[in-house]
Symmetry: C2
Subunit: 677 residues, 2 copies
């Protein structure tokens, strides 16, 4: 009999193949996911398999010792030079001689399932847009004067079936020296991120490149830019870093940046330039941290809100500042990274996720990709808290989206003692309801301020300010301790019974920490801080309620707090503030940096890109700016929390003191936030 | 009966269509070439037709007066506002009501056949890569927040069947203001130059644009850059201009520029920068001359030799300076013009014709496109004379190509009194064989120097030097008049009998014009000039002979002299010099600037691009640098002409004096040209 039964695990695919077929050929015939970069020449070792012996009765196969051809010279050389794990064979060399069960180890699978112990412990599906091929390019022939690129393209087509290869000038201009340095052997990185577009050569490396290629996942926020340097082999994060968005000097929130453009013709060009410079700096820092070259970064994925999106692309965002908030372009975009001024691999591509609406960006799309509410039976409210909050509500039946202009207060900006989340910033705070004394913890230390060793623990960082999650806890704790009344007014020391309530102008502030006697800072929560938080939380709450109205529900199964900041919010304190609609507190969870996770998923997987592109078309968009009910919810949600009856779950957790510090004629600086537009 | 017979002329297509069908719909159903830019809304008037009445018996059709629906309100308005030629109807408005013969006038045909009275009186086939569409874009809708670009793309798909539209950032970034300025009506210029690539939006104009779009055909030579600004509606040339290639300061010929790069790392970047700047200056000058904006230039086609090609693209040409003369890329390239630093329409594309070989460029491909030797029975030798000569030889059976390094002497460079072809340059010269006196004519004047009125005729230009065609005539006339012997030596005044043979150092020069007494120039032909011309003509002849050897022929049916310079060469004088192999003199013709014509053909026609891309693959390439026979022919061809026996046709035209000025020990500065590589 000339055929043999071959079973591949873990896929379980089985078929009869002609004896003498190599394992790699058999895998390709059977559609089994077995990698090969060198085209079956025993060089890359990506096609390793293990033979099952004896224990495969469940498959009904008897595997004889001669099921595969003996180890050949190529494998012996590979074993000698580089070593093979015990029991491993090179699939391109071993020929099938009898019935056999073959296991494809994870590192030999093209579409790897890699479980990363990252913040979100996410299973990363690996089908990156850029794949590598080891190619032997025929040397030039004066009688057949095809260009070097054409001979490379032909070798890629003949060896790997990559047809219609294209290359941009920066790649073409580097090709000749690389081919000669590698003595006509080259590792070609080819982008194939969209079946509707031609494969593109994005980078070439002389000879066989064994190291992985890298990608950059960027979450470009109005205030901060976070980046992850990711291995495109297994999705692992090699370095993560962040920086402040340098556009902040043109305006803290999005609308003030749009105003800047309206007031300063050409201002968009300035902002485009600084944000691109910021991304380059981030890429450089990440590459340095991971010990790789930026030229090894072959793709980047960026998620951001629509204004950042347009400014990054060099599109004047002025239309996004006024109804009808028309996007210049809404669909996902793939473009050369160098067109954004990014200095990565010569032909590196940049993928931007689709925008959902004029105020709901690619960052929200990334959250939708990461959290996938459309796959769940329960009704999820997903809130990505940043300078703008993006809100998704839905389940298998329907998903809605909107954004809400919370302003930067939740990020520690516009707060008197506010700062970004960095060592020294107060991130946790508790206030004793009886003594009204605070205790707190700063980023970079595990020791609370009332515990022994605190002074030592903060010796290097000091206590420098309050970050976003800290200010939420502070205001909520002040409310729980009766230092603040439901309207948001801070009581005087007479009213609250603590000298920490200090008058300042016509209002009061609560002193958390005062080291002025030793030249240190004085950290307080002012009446203005409370007002800023009230405006921000009202906007967030109103957006969530608007979506619930649209869906006709008054109950949530779960709340997911996304965003690097959302990861640190205490659900109890968020509910005391009335930031989010009522929900069983155990069902309020953090998704970490879901937008960043979505960006990484898109970076690692072409399938993920197609999935979110399709899903964004199905999401129902709500524009808060033109919904009168948004304004109603916003105004009604000013109190802390705005109406206890709306928070039945909260009542089971904490009793809020029924204080009232309203004083006639006492202007407290409160004001209605001007809406955008 | 619900059908009617419709016959379109001049195509002769006939079919039955349902009564009530508009003429435009019928044309589309029947595949008749009837233009429409506005999508059938009676705005653009591109779809005009005339009705044949009574005289169409040959078609067997009786055309009744009611064959088309009566003139409707839209047509009445159009006639009132803009006017229609008598008998014309708008095809998008007129409905077919009975059997009818309809004539599509030339201006309503998409693929126009336009005969231009240009230098080459070429029939231009019009199917340009960029077409315009008048599109009404739906206004933005906050509840369906598709981007402006996506709504434009959808309108183009729905109205005109243009699917998968793409746009680069510079176009996207300008879209929003244009749409608003045009009140949501826009003329979209869409590039569709390659079926394998997605259509690209290259420019948008608010509202209906009535003016044509423009293209730029550029012949980028080592010494000169010539450009034509062309209407993409009818192929007419609106402006032509040229400038010196600013790279000349890095080296006069190609090999000295390659050497410059080898000696000066980064020198290629300098040269890339200056040539791109030169092209931009040329584009600006042409646009200004024609009174159009560079932003209205939506495509450019560039033809050039391989070294210029690589330098333009930013590819180090160092591999082209040594065997095996490997091209980085050889196939035709389409890329955004801005990637070459060209400041044209935001999304303007640049098409570069394919290269034939390491020394035979896209300029030779353009000549092959223009002259099409592969379509002829006769054996043609086509020579494009520039700093490098590209040579094609062939007929229907086979076409060969090579290049020959003639150097810049034929362009007036390296000639003591040489200059580029400009007013004041001597372009024609005759020497009386008896008196040895010269008479000549300069560019910009029709009067010969021995005719009355010469002084007036040259009053503004003066006599400034000798251009390329002038130096060829001068040397040939000197040979005919016996002032120069077959070896190229200039005789002394004793030997020649004219005081115009003046000693200079150890050799002699012939004085053509001397105005030093009035502060003017002194124009002579020196021994060095003769040597430079001998080297150049030997190289050209040797290349042609090499191709004839390869094809196994010793006889030519015709010789075509291409190049702006070739247009001015006198065939007789070229044969006296032995520049070209023997041929019947009536069969030596000029094709004018054939490379420029080929560039214009490619600019006007996508079909022309596909045709030359296919043809270049079939052309057989000969590399002169590695053919020992080239060197043999080169050495043997030094004499003027090298052996009269090889020029039987020449002998019937002129008798060359059997002089000999060889003087023992008289070093004359002659030397063998160093070959490249």
């Amino acid at each position: 009999m000339d055929d043999a039964l071959v079973i591949f695990t873990p896929s379980g695919k089985r078929a009869h193949v002609a004896k003498g077929t190599t394992v790699l050929q058999a895998a390709r015939q059977m559609g089994v996911d077995l990698d090969s970069v060198c085209g079956g020449r025993g060089i890359c070792s990506k096609c390793q398999v293990s033979v099952g012996q004896g224990e495969f009765a469940k498959h009904g196969v008897t595997v004889s010792a001669e099921a595969l051809s003996p180890v050949n010279a190529v494998e012996e050389r590979y074993e000698r030079v580089r070593g093979l794990k015990p029991g491993r064979r090179l699939g391109c060399q071993a020929c099938i001689q009898g019935d056999v069960v073959l296991d494809v180890p994870p590192e030999s699978q093209v579409h790897k399932q890699v479980i990363r112990k990252s913040a979100s412990e996410r299973v990363m599906q690996m089908d990156p847009a850029v794949r590598v091929y080891l190619v032997d390019v025929p040397e030039p022939d004066m009688h057949e004067p095809l260009g070097d690129f054409q001979r490379l393209a032909k070798a890629l087509e003949d060896g790997f079936g990559v047809t219609g290869l294209q290359a941009d000038l920066p790649v073409l201009s580097k090709l000749q020296p690389v081919l000669r340095k590698g003595n006509w052997q080259v590792t070609a990185a080819v982008w194939q991120g969209d079946a509707a577009q031609a494969p593109r050569l994005v980078a070439t490396f002389a000879g066989l490149r064994e190291a992985p290629l890298y990608g950059l996942a960027i979450d470009l926020g109005s205030t901060t830019i976070a980046g992850h340097l990711v291995s495109l082999t297994d999705g692992s994060v090699l370095a993560s870093s962040g920086l402040m968005n340098p556009q902040i000097r043109f305006g803290e929130d999005l609308m003030s940046r749009v105003s800047y453009v309206m007031m300063n013709p050409g201002g968009d060009v300035e902002m485009t330039s600084v944000v691109r410079e910021g991304l380059n700096n981030l890429a450089k820092a990440l590459a340095e941290e991971a010990g790789v070259a930026t030229a090894e970064i072959v793709e980047t994925v960026v998620v951001c809100n629509p204004v950042m999106h347009h400014l990054l692309l060099g599109i004047d965002p002025v239309e996004l500042g006024q109804a009808p908030f028309a996007l210049a372009t809404s669909e996902a975009i793939t473009l050369p990274a160098r067109d954004l001024g990014l200095d990565l691999a010569a032909g590196a591509q940049c993928y931007l996720l689709p925008l959902i609406a004029g105020h709901v960006g690619a960052d929200a799309a990334a959250v939708a990709l990461s959290e996938a509410p459309e796959t769940k039976d329960e009704l999820s409210l997903i809130v990505d808290v940043g300078t703008n909050a993006e809100i998704l509500l839905g389940n298998k039946a329907r998903v809605l989206a909107c954004s809400s202009p919370t302003g930067p207060a939740f990020e520690g900006a516009q707060i008197s003692s506010g700062q970004r989340a960095a060592p020294g910033a107060i991130e946790r705070i508790r206030i004793d309801p009886v003594t009204k004394e605070p205790r707190f913890r700063v980023i970079g230390s595990e020791v609370w301020s009332d515990e022994e060793g605190f002074a030592d623990a903060i010796a290097t960082t000091g206590v420098t300010g309050i970050c976003g999650s800290g200010i939420i806890e502070a205001v909520a704790e002040m409310r729980i301790a009766g230092l603040v009344d439901p309207s948001g007014l801070i009581g005087s020391s007479e009213q609250t019974g603590t000298p920490r309530s200090m008058p300042t102008g016509r209002t009061h502030e609560y002193v958390i920490y005062d080291a002025t006697h030793e030249g240190g800072p004085r950290i307080t929560v002012t009446q203005g801080d409370i007002r800023a938080i009230q405006l921000a939380k009202s906007a967030l709450y109103a957006g969530a309620r608007l979506l619930m109205d649209e869906l006709g529900v008054d109950h949530l199964d779960r709340v997911v707090l996304a965003g690097a900041f959302g990861a640190h919010i205490s659900p109890l304190h968020a509910m005391v503030l009335g930031m989010i609609p009522d929900c069983e507190i155990g069902q309020v969870t953090s998704a970490g940096n879901a937008a960043g996770t979505g960006a990484r998923m898109a970076l690692c997987s072409v399938a993920a890109r197609r999935s979110i592109e399709a899903q964004v078309k199905r999401i129902h968009k709500i524009e808060t700016a033109i919904e009168p009910r948004f304004q109603e919810h916003f105004v009604a949600a000013n109190a802390i929390p705005h109406a206890t009856a709306d928070f039945p779950h909260l009542a089971t957790l904490v009793t809020l003191p029924a204080v009232s510090f309203n004083v006639a004629g006492g202007g407290d600086g409160a004001g209605r936030r001007r809406r955008r537009g």
